[in-house]
Amino acid sequence: MSMPRRIAPALLAFALNVAPLAAADSPRLGAPISEADIGAWNVTVFPDGTGLPPGNGTAAAGAMVYADKGCAACHGENAAGGANVGLVGNPPLDRIEARKTIANFWANATTLFDIIRRWMPWPSPRTLSNDEVYALTAYILALNKIIGEQDVMNAQTLPKVKMPNRDNFIIRFPDRI
């Protein structure tokens, strides 16, 4: 490669004032893809609601999904716990080994939607409809008395749910972020 050809892209980047570009001789072996084509993999939900899909659900509908999908096999009747962790309970955080629960610890209600859609139902993750995930989310939040029995969970309401422990976190190493 001759010198002028190497210099040209660098000058172009400087002229356009864009973010640092990869070196001109970077391998560039990645295949372009559109966000639309990533769709099925893009299941991340953020605390501000970014990533939440259309749909909605209530606690009553969630109770039916919970029974229908056999959730009690691991999480117990009324989500009280069984072969795997219980999903209700609010023990005091009065010891360093206290059980961290949705009610006493989790900072964001969106985390609940995300983990149900991502990981449940065992052993067939990512098979629930969006309405079913919203319904299960509402069911568990209502069991924990964080929302009302009649509250509808959707992309607008879920990020607004105030989790009781949300203000009790200290960023350990702020200079690393």
Partner: protein
């Protein structure tokens, strides 16, 4: 075996700290000098030598993959869920039976939440998208053409050493207490190259890394770490990464808690905010005695423990021993390790085995002549950033301890990096003690 009454041939054999710790510089001298200084007068005479049967017979046939000696079959990981029931599986590394600094691949600790996915490397894809100019998809073959970096790095579960939060010392091996850390040579593609190629939005601040496992495990990583020393690791100790460690590719974040080193990596979502995923919201936000909790802990801080001798070992009797252990820090190279044989009243500087590499195991050694009396052995490490391993009293004052003795496999709390103490009894038995 006592020094008493024998001429001292070298200043190095004078104890430099209480209960028989010797000058580390004797480890640097010639073997002759060492033997001359340390050979005891009271050992029984050896039996006459003769050929053993294995020296007179045809040996075993060479196999494509070398099996271990049949006498080493006890060197195994310990499992919490050997039948793969629908819960997390932990495999702890037998650090009390290994030496040096490299953890062999089949003994590297693993924690998997849904079993290891059976990934066809030809079909695996890694996508980078979100706040980038052009989302990109990479195959393993394409990544293998990129400029790669090889480095040593420890990977440690943030919940490693959780039994040390017990209010009483749990009698258990190093494997049970500290076996969720391992050290390997990793080879892979610097993530910064791939992010540069995708073209970062100047507002980007985080990368959400996600695996191809059943639960699509994900964590939020600060972008600055991704642009600093993060690797898309493809090789582990020279061979392709083991399934339990993320075959065919994992994120390697040197010094950062194990769970963030996402295995079976398939997606990197560039964003301006953390996702507050399940694992960062719950498991890896350590609860404090005040009822508040740390979040975004990330770093495995400077730590050390003596592996030889340790619980499960027994000393044969008074005389010379090579105290040895591991030190490592998520904030750089190990600068210094001090060893005490009198519960911290006096300390001597240990010899550090080269190479000392950042965010990697350093092996330390301490020559010691045991007089047969009860002693308490401890190690304490410092890193090049000036951080020191906290004493237990300091650590407990800040982080607390459990009110009862938890199950040894329970994750009582996270990020323990204080001292481990071994009490040696007069019979040579090793107990775990707090001191």
């Amino acid at each position: 075996m006592r020094m008493r009454g024998r001429p001292v041939t070298s200043p190095g054999f004078e104890p430099v700290a209480g209960n028989g710790l010797l000058d580390r510089r004797i480890l640097l001298r010639s073997g002759i000098a060492l033997a001359g200084g340390l050979t005891g007068a009271s050992l029984a005479r050896a039996e006459p030598l003769k050929d053993d049967p294995w020296s007179l017979a045809q040996g075993t046939t060479t196999a494509p993959i070398e099996p271990h000696s049949r006498f080493e079959q006890n060197v195994q990981r310990t499992l919490t869920n050997p039948n793969g029931e629908p819960r997390t599986q932990h495999a702890r590394a037998p650090l009390h039976l290994l030496h040096g600094t490299v953890t062999p691949n089949e003994l590297h600790f693993t924690i998997v939440h849904n079993g290891s996915p059976d990934i066809d490397p030809a079909k695996h894809r890694l996508v980078i998208h979100g706040m980038v100019k052009q989302p990109l998809v990479f195959t393993l073959d394409k990544l293998a053409r990129y400029p790669m970096t090889t480095r040593m790095a420890f990977v440690e579960c943030a919940g490693n050493s959780a039994p040390m939060f017990s209010n009483e010392p749990i009698q258990a091996t190093i494997q049970a207490l500290h076996g969720l850390v391992s050290n390997a040579e990793w080879t892979g593609v610097p993530l910064s190259i791939l992010l540069d190629e995708a073209g970062l939005d100047p507002k980007a601040k985080w990368v959400i890394a996600e695996g191809a496992d059943t639960g699509a495990l994900d964590r939020s990583i600060p972008l600055r770490k991704c642009m600093d020393d993060a690797l898309i690791a493809l090789y582990q100790n020279g061979e392709r990464i083991m399934p339990g460690n993320g075959y065919p590719m994992r994120l390697l974040l040197p010094g950062f808690e194990g769970n963030m080193n996402v295995k079976w990596l398939r997606r990197l979502l560039v964003t301006d905010q953390p996702a507050m995923t399940y694992f960062e919201s719950r498991n890896y936000s350590p609860l404090l005695p005040t009822g508040k909790a740390y979040k975004f802990y990330f770093i495995n801080e400077v730590k050390s423990f003596i592996t030889h001798p340790s619980f499960g070992h027994a000393l044969e009797g008074p005389g010379y021993y090579d105290i040895s252990g591991l030190a490592y820090s998520g904030t750089g190279r190990i600068a210094r390790v001090m060893v005490s044989a009198d519960a911290g009243r006096s300390w001597a500087e240990a010899a550090l085995q080269e190479p000392r590499l950042p965010m990697a195991f350093t092996r330390f050694r301490m020559p010691w002549r045991w007089d047969g009396q009860p002693v308490i052995l401890q190690s304490r490490a410092w890193d090049e950033a000036g951080n020191s391993q906290p004493l237990r009293a300091e650590f407990v004052a800040l982080r607390g301890q459990a009110r009862t003795v938890p199950n040894v496999t329970a994750f009582t709390n996270q990020h323990y990096n204080s001292i481990t103490s071994w009490g040696i009894g007069s019979e040579g038995e090793v107990k775990h003690v707090y001191a």
